[in-house]
Symmetry: C2
């Protein structure tokens, strides 16, 4: 960016590429925190609310990057990140040496490491910074953010990350934010299916669900998924929250990673099939607790 614009604020100029259910509230929280924000979204109409809140709107990822010293990408999948970084009018065309690209998308860790290497050739630092906490976490700036990358780049961006998240952990070098997210999602998926199978078994045996759950939640078999979702399953409340189709996207990436690394996790692999069968049967828009429905057909 040019120095005259930079001079308008003491805070770092931030670009946000991608204004979906996560990107829009992240950008809004940055505006509210006083950062000069430039946004780009493929569907331009989604920029209106941010523009009204005080953000500039760019016509391309390159345009957003040219106005900014730190650029946050928060899009859906590996191909989307590659496209907004290195595609036509991609961010790399607007980034200059010393800038930082923070990718908050949940994508393939190995691809992310390649993106980091490509940006490094331009003198641009890269942080893989996937989040958890969902739409509510983005809106309330309470996201957990797992960050991979150089210590100096992490420190430079720590105020920006603190403006959009609550638990911000620098877990290691490039790729390790995403690897940590993969470990989390793999564990979450198996735990969700354990919850679903527990609830199915409760129903099939006919034991009193409240009393059985009192015992289980009071002991070593307790889990966050049972605490969060067993009441919803009992009430047949399958509204999202975090959708099955988005969990499935993360699990596909995790499975690609496991395959590439020749790591076998048979119980996770079986759990994943329950999510796959739910999506195949048209339940992708349900919340993840809807995996229970794989058992109640």
């Amino acid at each position: 960016m040019n120095e005259s614009v930079k001079g308008q604020s003491q805070k770092t100029a931030v670009g946000v590429i991608g204004l979906g259910i996560m990107g829009a509230p992240i950008a809004l929280n940055l505006v509210k925190s006083g950062y000069p924000v430039t946004v780009y979204n493929r569907t331009a109409s989604k920029c209106t609310a941010l523009q009204q809140a005080g953000a500039r709107v760019a016509a391309s990822p390159a345009g957003a990057a040219a106005e900014s010293d730190v650029v946050i990408a928060v899009v859906s999948d590996t191909n989307d990140v590659e496209d907004v970084l290195f595609g036509p009018a991609g961010a790399v065309e607007g980034l200059t040496s010393g800038d930082v690209l923070i990718d908050m998308s949940t994508i393939n860790p190995l691809a992310s490491q390649r993106f980091a290497a490509r940006l490094d050739e331009h003198g641009v630092d890269f942080l893989d910074a996937p989040v958890s906490g969902g739409q509510k976490g983005a809106e309330n700036a309470t996201l957990a953010i797992m960050v991979g990358g150089k210590q100096a780049a992490f420190e430079r961006c720590s105020d920006i990350l603190a403006a959009v998240g609550k638990t911000v952990v620098h877990v290691g070098p490039n790729g390790h934010g995403l690897l940590t997210k993969m470990v989390n999602q793999v564990t979450a998926a198996t735990s969700l299916v354990a919850m679903a199978e527990c609830m199915h078994l409760i129903r099939q045996t006919g034991v009193d669900p409240e009393k059985a759950l009192q015992v289980i939640l009071g002991g070593a078999a307790r889990s966050g998924m049972l605490e969060n979702y067993s009441p919803k399953v009992l009430q047949e409340d399958f509204a999202p929250g975090f959708k099955i189709k988005l969990m499935n996207k993360d699990l596909r990436i995790a499975s690609e990673l496991l395959q590439a690394s020749e790591v076998e996790l048979p119980t996770f692999a079986t759990a994943r099939e329950a999510f796959n069968s739910c999506e195949a049967e048209g339940m992708g828009e349900l919340g993840v607790q809807g995996v229970f429905k794989a058992y109640s057909k």
Copy 2:
């Protein structure tokens, strides 16, 4: 029992059949709480410590039952319970109408319901009352006890159960204590394997275990098994606690129940294979966190 013995104490005379790692501390806690206790154990030498603590020693299950109004059986498996109840000089020969038999063993729920029906023919009430909390829970009288049976029988025994456990829940009719225990063990097993696969993936990806666990334990993927056992796995501490071979016994019973009920839990079934392969490879004496070793060969 005869009235002259009964008159020696205001507290109910209690028999304890089976002085293993659970039965011995349960019997001792009853003696300490002032109950007149008569014990029986197949290997008579195990009765010595209880005798020194003030318990009577019987020569057979029938003998222990004849001295008692409430008899607790705490043995290993379904066949063992059948044997001490209905085998030669079994408890049924010493029980009289109005007595209560509490079975604290973890056995097949359907078999347990048949035992209840057979005792009912003799006017004897039956409670299936499996426990969780392990040897320490038995020693400290902090067991969780899941009780199935008639409300009146439960109430009659509630002081006795409170003397040996902390969380005592009457979950439903005969069999439902054991069904609840099965739901708990199934959920515990899948959660243990989710822990093991999480730790294996952490090791294989090379992410910092402490930082990754900080993220996971702070979010929805948290579980009691990760909290309890991930530090032990990191320290390669596989000492029992609860042994793999005992977990496997419970899982075999659960699997028999699932098969008889035509309930399919594919993720649990896959998790169970990890425990089976551990025992097949001679790791049955390890604590349940040793299931991690199924992944680190």
